[in-house]
Symmetry: C2
Subunit: 388 residues, 2 copies
Amino acid sequence: MNSFVYDIPTKVYFGEDQLKFLGEELSKYGKKVLLTYGGGTIKKTGLYDKVVAEVKKAGLELFELSGIEPNPRVASVNAGADICKKEKIDVLLAVGGGSVIDCTKFIGAAAFTDGDAWDILTEKTIVEKCLPIIDILTLSATGSEMDSGGVISNPETKDKIGMMYPVMQPKVSFLDPTNTYTVSKYQTACGAADMLNHILEVYFNMNQDLFMLDTVMEGLMRTILKYAPIALEKPDDYEARANLMWTSSWAINGFVNGGKRQAWSCHPMEHEISAIYDITHGLGLAILTPRWLTYCLDETRVAKYYQFGVNVFGIDASLQPMEVAKKSIELTSDFLFKTLGLQSTLSELGIDSSNFEHMAKKSVAGGLAYAFKPLDESDVVNIFTMCL
Amino acid sequence: MNSFVYDIPTKVYFGEDQLKFLGEELSKYGKKVLLTYGGGTIKKTGLYDKVVAEVKKAGLELFELSGIEPNPRVASVNAGADICKKEKIDVLLAVGGGSVIDCTKFIGAAAFTDGDAWDILTEKTIVEKCLPIIDILTLSATGSEMDSGGVISNPETKDKIGMMYPVMQPKVSFLDPTNTYTVSKYQTACGAADMLNHILEVYFNMNQDLFMLDTVMEGLMRTILKYAPIALEKPDDYEARANLMWTSSWAINGFVNGGKRQAWSCHPMEHEISAIYDITHGLGLAILTPRWLTYCLDETRVAKYYQFGVNVFGIDASLQPMEVAKKSIELTSDFLFKTLGLQSTLSELGIDSSNFEHMAKKSVAGGLAYAFKPLDESDVVNIFTMCL
């Protein structure tokens, strides 16, 4: 069993009516706040006004960067870093989903470096410091609110690169389930697919690890299966939104990993799809997940599928392992495409095979030789092809 | 659903061969280290020598307080605080189980206050600061390695008082399962009973809360049921010791509580037993737990027992809820007294009913009116009597 370091210092205010602590938390880090957000949904929902009121009440000076894209781009990172340098920003306040928080992490890092922020993603520049980050989450999906990583796109080079630095870990996250009431059915479904895949990437693993963490992962997955359909049906169901929100954080904050050192599989592949076609990350993962599970299934790996099928889907434990395994993939597929209603093929998104070889080559660079089932370029092309 | 704040900043080095990071972590806080430990088992096992070697290698100055008792006493807190003040200690290094870590927390707090440390426990003195604490855990049980609380006994007044202050949260904990290989069968069993009770105190709750946290608690309980017998049978089974160790931390670090605000039941009662009779905390909890579960069972609460029985013990879900509930208590009892082999009655420990009324009165002051089933003095006497 591998040793590991657990280090998740983010403080979380979970629930309604916690925004009254925002000013106090921001004030710990200084006077000048850069508020970062996306396309302006927070203005429509009224969250923007509430946030600004709290910041003003605390006597802090407010600056703004709006328009951060889904699949956030390096241009936004550079724009934010410029404001930080020019205005001598003390603390960043990200209000949004994973894209806004990811982008804000790299803004905080780029505030201390010279030149193009893309140099951070290509590791030409090493991150040593980051401005303190506080966030208010509005979408349950990526888990960026409780981890130290982020993913940035560069449309010029068609690259999408993820990176983690402990200094980018948010200091404080405000998780109010009511802030996700207005999330569309489609984004709710993509979020559920995203968090489910985060757990599967860790759960399907050949490293020996802690049984207790497997039980936690199985519980988190059962939570997603139970509450995603409720949130789709009734977007303002507090219990459903709360369970999905806290699960999204714990799916990827590092706790469930324990000593597992294996590379992830679907994420490197999906990043290549969305780098070129700019699709929603969770949708790309949903399409890949059952094909990847199918492609990796063999006698050496069947035991994990059996455990998954029995403990997550409640499949009859007395059936043959291979039968349970196949049934578990079928039920995963049904959940993603029937229950969540997500599109099930790349063809439906207008994506053909023309870039598969190029995308496979770049995916493999993400460490796929060290994945649950080691994958080379031809394996990845095969999986992409299964997704057509 | 209640809102809550999640804030567990302790960094954990989990696994073998992590002690090489001890010097680096201690050095972050200063040069003068006070090493605290118990009766000297760590000298027999060789851990003491390893720790001293790491401290010396880092060029730090070492001071010592040994002899911290099981059910640690306020005299040890005072003795430790005196050393801190006299030697201007920068950082505390607790090596031991919950008793040593608990005591060290109050040493760290009392280092900043005047007068008798007992004033902290009686709330005459409020804790505002604490010396930084790093610990090396040698017993999986109390979870003190990842929370901000501790319990101190005063033999003169026959009081045993627990208290939490965020500043007492350990900065870093070293959790090496091999350090628990030498824990006796009896202490291993008491530790398992302790952590099981920590979860039950939260799980049996009438507050509405997050389903996802219930799934986590059920997973942690199944982990204890699976691995405690293995650790009893084979004390150097790494997998068993590792699962029990990480489970003990997560049983009580606050994560599983979520928004549950209910008072605990068995702990206030057990503290009164061990305050007078100085028994092992986990043993007292084991004796109380099934009686408390039996006493609280009624139609308004049966649903929680049903969930427990089905999801933790795998009892047939098609049975009547009350039948599942009774069976779940029986299986809990079997686990504690047959599988773990713990003594099952107070009489076996030489405890009679002579102090029950006095103990009940003090237990109730622990907030039992706000417990899973609200309990008054006569209820507590009844539960104590069931334990004879």
